[in-house]
């Protein structure tokens, strides 16, 4: 994906050329030429997610994502999947708080069908009442699935508490009661408002011919723009002390600590990303050593920082081994955070974390499909230079900057949520 002048030599080795155009109706089109395999990925990102839902109608964005496969003027229910399969391709979609994305992977000689499908369902959906009712049941089963999984259930509870009533704390799938309040009319309104070309980014990546842009223009250039912007997301009211939360589920103690973090575009995001790497990536990371390989208190431990358009979260997770106690794990985790906020890490440790983060980035962008999704993510939420800028910031971070960042964000006593999923039998 690297196309500019980054300091990081290894990125220059990634194949491909990238260009961005804007059609007359406002659709952002990113062409990513990469001929490493005879494949093409299309990824259409709409700037519409959970954060755009009306109160009491949580889950609308995700519900609509499901309905995008359930009938549009030229593709009846199930037809999109059948056509995709008949052409030897694959497709899927996902919804987040910030955006919803749809993608197709096809051989390079037949990807045009993806454009026809996207144009058809951008123009309008059938939203048949019976199909809506049936899909509501499917989503209720999806909710039950996540509620049954101990980590998913804990994560939703912690996130809800960290963000309070803020939309970033709402579950993407909504709740059973909210889904009952969403019908064809609500879905059509959401579609009409947000599924417009000037609120979307299309990435076409892979072994493209010279007429790729013309094909996009023919398929999607006639879609009318909405001309309406998105409501900015408000600042959440994070807890001002460490809030504790306990659930009873399963037989294994699981810890999830969530702390406030800056938006993905904030200058502090890259150093915080590096701190998360230093804490939780690889066997040499601090949490892994203290809790897993040396401390032998946990099966695994991890650290992650979200990359959202608005305010985010840093999460630290660990799963306790039999014989260790939750109190031991919690104390050691908090001690590690305090150490990092008190003293700058050694230069060698910083260099190792940078190398791990960069390698992780390279391995995460090997496939055209990954590159297309990453470009779409950057363009939909930030700008094309976002990924490169983040890497350059990361490469430039020194130990003192990490100390400042740790002091700003790794202070659970200033606010955060410490969630435990504890054994029911305990």
């Amino acid at each position: 994906m690297r196309r500019g002048t980054a300091e990081v030599d290894v990125l220059r080795g990634l194949p491909g050329r990238i260009g961005v155009e804007r059609l007359g109706n406002g659709l952002t089109v990113c062409l990513l030429e990469n001929r490493q395999a005879p494949l093409v990925t299309t990824a259409l990102w709409y700037r519409a997610g959970t954060r755009d839902e009306a109160r009491g109608q949580g889950g609308t964005a995700h519900f609509l994502e499901h309905m995008m496969f359930k009938g549009s003027p030229h593709y009846g229910p199930g037809e999109i999947d059948r056509r995709t399969q008949a052409l030897g391709g694959a497709n899927n979609a996902f919804t987040s708080h910030d955006a919803t994305a749809y993608y197709f992977n096809f051989a390079a000689d037949r990807w045009g069908e993806a454009l026809a499908i996207e144009a058809d369902r951008m123009a309008g959906l059938l939203l048949d009442a019976e199909e809506v009712a049936s899909e509501r049941q499917v989503i209720l089963e999806e909710i039950a699935m996540y509620d049954s999984e101990p980590w998913d259930a804990l994560e939703m509870a912690v996130q809800r508490r960290l963000f309070g009533g803020h939309v970033y704390g709402w579950p993407v799938l909504g709740t059973a009661a909210e889904l009952e309040a969403i019908g064809a009319a609500e879905l059509a309104a959401f579609h009409g408002r947000y599924y417009r070309p000037d609120n979307a980014v299309l990435v076409v990546g892979g072994d493209l011919g010279p007429d790729a842009l013309a094909a996009v223009e023919r398929a999607l250039g006639g879609q009318p723009a909405a001309g309406r912007g998105r409501t900015p997301v408000a600042e959440p009211t994070y807890p001002t002390e460490l809030v504790r939360l306990e659930r009873r589920k399963g037989e294994v103690p699981r810890l999830l600590l969530a702390l406030p973090a800056p938006p993905g575009g904030h200058p502090d995001h890259a150093p915080l990303h590096l701190l998360a790497t230093l804490l939780g990536s690889g066997r040499t990371s601090r949490l892994h050593r203290a809790l897993v390989d040396e401390g032998q208190l946990c099966v695994w431990a991890s650290a992650d920082v979200s990359e959202s358009q608005g305010p985010g979260q840093l999460t630290l997770a660990a799963e306790v081994v039999p014989g260790a106690t939750p109190a031991q794990v919690e104390a050691e985790l908090l001690r590690q955070l305090a150490l990092l906020a008190a003293e700058p890490p050694a230069e060698g440790e910083v260099a190792r974390a940078k190398q791990l983060a960069l390698a992780d980035w390279v391995f995460g962008h090997e496939r055209v499909h990954q590159q297309a999704l990453a470009a779409g993510f950057a363009l939909a939420l930030f700008d094309l230079d976002h990924l490169e800028r983040e890497l350059e910031r990361l490469a430039a971070v020194g130990a003192e900057r990490l100390l400042e960042t740790a002091d700003r964000y790794l202070r659970p006593e200033r606010g955060g949520v410490l969630g435990w999923s504890l054994p029911r039998s305990a």
């Binding site: 995709t84 399969q85 052409l87 499917v138 039950a144 589920k249 399963g250 039999p322 390698a359 390279v362």
Partner: protein, 429 residues
């Protein structure tokens, strides 16, 4: 039901039995240059795995221990030096093999090759690390058991395969894990080293130079060891039902199925097509997802396979549905009816064309990256099948017409012979 590698239906022409393959070459090396990201991927596979272990969990822990210390370096030094270069170094133990997977930036190729040889040939099995990794694996079992889908799947595998090793998790069980000694692991690894070693490499590399280097580095393999006795082929089971109590929120987990065939069976390709027709293809296509999710709205997760886990031993036909407990009977009935319709009513030409197009269309996506190529080459060598050759694969699929696929369905899909395992929320079970 089973007569060795050719499972059921009287199909006798299974290709050469696995044991005969071992003698062909002690060191198999496959290298492929892959244009793309500046990375390289190495895989080292030793034919072993949980299917031949004498102590449940032995293969898993023996494999993981390869990164826990060599005669030259401690686990800490290995981790420090690998991660300083952004290298992803994983050692593993699976059902049929144990070994190494190393992903590195291309500039570190020589280092990665040297480490692969060192970790494999000079591994030591320190007592303290053995104890910790065994304890860690035992804890993983506890964690997995908290997931309703997995806990139910374990019950299903036990129904289908017992007493074959496939009937248990690759982690074994806590008691056997915690009793493992360094000698158990070292002995297991030594014996595997004495059979066949596969090394594959892919990425931005010089194919000839890498093959030469691998052969140099692995020239000193220990003397041949007697192969492990092959486990008796899984015998399958009479149709039966089992309920498993799980901690699920208002959701039942259904597994229905029976044994089918191993990877090298002549009907493998036909069963792949049948899997797509039943429900392993794109999105919500396939008869079972279409009926259970699309038409009846009973589930979010509904899919089917005909060759799950097919390798040296027989795989399985399996349909999975997660649905509200009140809908479990209806979902089960729907799956059985779809299987019966497949066997008795046959398939449509259009379904077969779509399934074939899907499988062929997926091929380029399996060959995009260095890591995919390294895995594919290892799998090809392991099964002694030209899996990396897209033309071979296309020919295998093209030669199957509707009649041949329907005959395979009648041989291998048996709706009256299903084992059924249902994970139900405690209180409903």
């Amino acid at each position: 039901m089973s007569d060795g590698l050719a499972v059921d239906g009287g199909v006798a022409e299974a290709e050469r039995p696995a044991a005969a393959l071992l003698a062909s070459e002690r060191l198999g090396v496959r290298v492929r240059r892959v244009e793309g990201a500046p990375v390289v991927a190495l895989r080292v596979w030793l034919r072993s795995g949980a299917r031949v272990e004498s102590i449940p969990g032995q293969a898993l822990v023996a494999g993981r221990m390869l990164a826990e210390g060599t005669r030259r370096r401690s686990w800490k030094r290995i981790a420090d030096e690998a991660e300083a270069r952004g290298m992803i170094l994983a050692s593993f133990g699976g059902f049929e093999v144990h070994g190494l997977a190393i992903d590195a930036l291309a500039q570190d190729l020589e280092l990665a090759l040297g480490w692969a040889a060192e970790l494999l040939l000079e591994s030591v099995f320190p007592e303290d690390r053995t104890a910790w990794l065994a304890r860690q694996a035992a804890a993983e079992l506890g964690s997995l058991a908290d997931q309703p889908e997995i806990k139910t799947a374990w019950g299903f595998l036990e129904q289908l395969y017992a007493p074959h090793p496939r009937s248990r998790p690759v982690q074994g069980d806590p008691a056997s894990l915690l009793a493992l000694t360094p000698d158990d692991l070292a002995g297991f690894h030594r014996r595997a080293l004495g059979s066949r070693v596969l090394v594959t490499a892919a990425g931005r590399l010089d194919e000839d130079a890498v093959e030469r280097r691998v052969r140099e580095l692995f020239a000193a393999l220990p003397p041949p060891a007697p192969p492990w006795p092959e486990p008796a082929a899984p015998a399958g089971t009479e149709p039966r039902r089992r309920l498993v109590a799980v901690e699920a929120e208002e959701q039942a987990h259904l597994y229905l199925g029976h044994l089918t065939v191993p990877r090298r069976h002549p009907d493998h390709a036909a069963l792949e097509l049948l899997a797509v027709i039943l429900g392993s293809g794109t999105g919500l296509t396939g008869r079972i997802p279409t009926r259970i999710r699309e038409r009846e709205g009973l589930a979010y997760s509904a899919h089917a396979q005909t060759l799950a886990g097919a390798g040296l031993d027989a795989g399985r036909l399996v349909a999975y549905v997660a649905t509200a407990p009140a809908n479990a009977d209806r979902a089960e009935q729907g799956v059985v009816e779809e299987l019966r319709r497949l066997v008795e009513g046959g398939i449509k030409e259009a379904e077969l064309d779509d399934a074939r197009a899907y499988l062929l269309g997926r091929e380029p996506f399996r060959r995009e990256t260095a890591r995919q190529w390294a895995d594919l080459l290892a799998e090809a060598e392991h099964y002694e099948l030209p899996l990396e050759d897209a033309r071979w694969r296309a020919a295998r699929l093209a030669e199957l017409d509707r009649t041949a696929v329907e005959e395979a369905a009648r041989r291998h899909v048996r709706p009256d012979d299903l084992a059924v395992t249902i994970g139900l929320p405690e209180g409903d079970s």
